[in-house]
């Protein structure tokens, strides 16, 4: 009963003209960005952050979330029609989606991707609604040792699941934690590593770093490739509504994809590519005709696209209950919430019911908007693909500069962004993943406070992390994630498209 009352309050919040408009802008921009290869949701949300500074927190998070799930929707269009994923999670959609398009079934592929995303997105929001409040209640039992153990486990999972070299992922995480300590120490009041700079004494902000590492670095990476223009498959987009046979083959993959997406979305580092590949691998494994996969099997589109969208709402579970982001996009959204003075924690849902339930209601609304938007506008999205990158990239860079400058009207933050843009460019070249760095930067101060408070409570004993039941379990799980990949005979499985 309480849930129904809360959902009603959420809809009352979301269904104001202002929030409907921001939700619409979010999903529209998100879909547009998802369609465009080379500009992912991370960069886009970073770019749109300044627009939200002057909105109220509810409208801001509704719009940013709309961008995120809109981008997840839009990514499938380019994957199916151009064989280029609009964002990384859609890589797997290329395999069968593009083959379907070549066989003249682009409409069915796009249609099932849209319907699958809608169904999965909606189911996932129901999951978020049911799981988050009791989890937050459980989180009220957490003290500093439990928070330290939880963040430690999140770090170890992220590092364990990092796609590249594990040693490099650990090193870059440690650097991120160190960068997070720059500025005033909130316990002693001393400044650290700022060397008299007022900008640095406030700490290195998440926005300049994220914009540099993802926005600027992505442009620098693509400048050299700007002559490459996507070749759009010339096919008639007919029959966007899947037929009875399509539905028969797709409904179970959609449900399985939704479950996989929701479960993996709650795990740090478990969203995106990993979710879609898991769904694809499962569908292929249990199919009676696995030989059809890679040659235009509709299940190969329905499952991964559903999993992809289900993971979006699931990412909010750890963010809104414990304040722990599981993806870089969530880290940036957390940064955006912090700008508005909101720090998610186990008390977040109780203290901000309007924001939480308003967000949930907006997700239902946004999923309907996306379905309505995506199907009739597919022709328009295809034309967007023809925009040359050399026109797009100056605008992206300009939005990065303006976004960071408007944060505090401080040119030194733009300098920080440019430095991190260059660092991000080098990191890609040297194969260091930027995502663990951003997580560490954001979670570093939290883990530092939790560790120091725990050590003060225990008078310097690390045993406190293992003698309390919740933190003990979390620490052991975290340590196992470090140990398992190092065990002899354990091979880190890399997803291979050819398989």
């Amino acid at each position: 009963m309480e849930t129904i009352t809360n959902v009603g309050m959420g809809f009352a919040t979301a269904l104001t003209w202002a929030n409907i408009t921001y939700c619409f802008i979010g999903v529209l921009v998100g879909t547009l960005i998802g369609v465009l290869p080379g500009l992912g949701p991370t960069a886009t949300i970073s770019l749109l952050l300044p627009v939200t500074y002057y909105l109220n927190p509810i409208s801001a998070i509704i719009m940013l979330s709309g961008v995120y799930y809109g981008a997840m929707y839009g990514g499938s269009t380019t994957a199916i029609l151009v064989n280029i994923p609009g964002e990384t999670a859609s890589i797997v959609t290329c395999l069968d989606g593009y083959q379907m398009a070549r066989q003249g079934r682009a409409g069915a592929a796009l249609g099932i991707a849209a319907f699958g995303s809608f169904i999965a997105g909606t189911l996932s929001v129901v999951g978020l609604m049911l799981v988050a409040p009791p989890l937050a209640e459980f989180g009220l039992r957490f003290g500093p040792p439990e928070f330290f153990a939880l963040i430690f486990m999140a770090f170890s999972l992220l590092i364990c699941l990092a796609s590249g070299d594990m040693l490099k992922a650990v090193m870059i995480t440690v650097v991120g934690v160190w960068v997070g300590t720059i500025g005033v120490d909130f316990i002693s009041g001393d400044t650290r590593f700022s060397y008299g700079s007022l900008t640095l004494s406030d700490g290195v902000g998440i926005v300049p770093v994220a914009m540099g590492l993802f926005g600027v670095a992505e442009v620098l990476e693509n400048i050299d490739k700007q002559e490459q223009q996507a070749k759009i498959l010339k096919t008639r987009l007919k029959g966007l509504l899947p037929n009875r046979q399509d539905w028969k083959e797709s409904w179970l993959p959609i449900l399985r994809g939704s479950a996989i997406g929701f479960f993996m979305g709650t795990i740090p580092g478990g969203g995106g590519v990993m979710t879609t590949f898991t769904s694809y691998a499962l569908e292929k494994k249990i199919s009676k005709h696995p030989e059809r996969f890679g040659k235009g099997a509709i299940e190969g589109v329905a499952g991964p696209e559903s999993a992809n969208n289900a993971s979006v709402a699931a990412h909010y579970v750890p963010l809104l209950t414990f304040g722990i982001p599981t993806t870089v996009v969530m880290a940036i959204i957390l940064g955006g919430l912090m700008i508005h003075g909101i720090s998610p924690s186990p008390t977040f849902i109780k203290e901000n019911p309007q924001l939480f339930w308003g967000l949930i209601a907006s997700m239902y609304m946004g999923n309907v908007m996306l379905l309505v938007l995506n199907l009739p506008l597919i022709g328009l999205w295809v034309r967007v693909l023809a925009i040359p990158y050399r026109i797009l990239f100056p605008l992206i860079l300009l939005f990065c500069i303006i976004g960071v400058y408007c944060l505090n009207y401080n040119i030194w933050e733009v300098v920080i962004m440019v430095i991190f843009g260059f660092v991000g460019y080098l990191m890609r070249r040297f194969e260091y993943e930027p995502a663990p760095f951003v997580f560490a930067l954001l979670l570093g101060p939290m883990i530092e406070n939790a560790l120091r408070q725990s050590l003060i409570i225990s008078e310097g004993s690390f045993g406190i992390f293992f003698t309390r039941p919740i933190s003990g379990v979390l620490m052991i799980v975290g340590i196992m994630f470090f140990i398992i990949p190092a065990l002899p005979g354990f091979k880190r499985k890399k997803f291979d498209v050819a398989d």
């Binding site: 440690v174 050299d224 050399r390 733009v414 300098v415 843009g421 003060i456 310097g460």
Partner: protein, 150 residues
Amino acid sequence: MTKYDRISTLFLVGLAIAVSLESIRIGPGSLSNPGPGLIPLGCGLVLGILSLIGFFRTFVRPSSEVLRKNAVKLGGSTIAALVSMLVFAFLIDTLGFLIVTFLWMGFVCRWIGRLGWKATIFTSVVTPFCIWLLFVYFLEIRFPRGILSF
């Protein structure tokens, strides 16, 4: 490309030493009364050990194929884009948003994006104006006026 892995790990060793020394200066305190330098010192020590492992690993394990392919070549466009953004930042207060954006867009479109003159002029004029409308008029965000009075 083992050479590049060696360079990056040696850089991290240097960073680890610098961070550790500075953390000791700040004051790590004790375990029962941790000071502001404790976590940075821990980061420095862990980073130092890991980057040394990474450095010595390059002698026994070759780097991956991707790294071989992505040799670090800093293109002129990359440097020009980075420097132009810094120049933009340092001139925005003096020249004002509209002028500096016009000049910056012109430079980036023409010399980095290699757009034709007509497209460059069109983009450089329309973009600052549209952004000014969006941010100043609709979002009521202040931009530096510089030598212009609006």
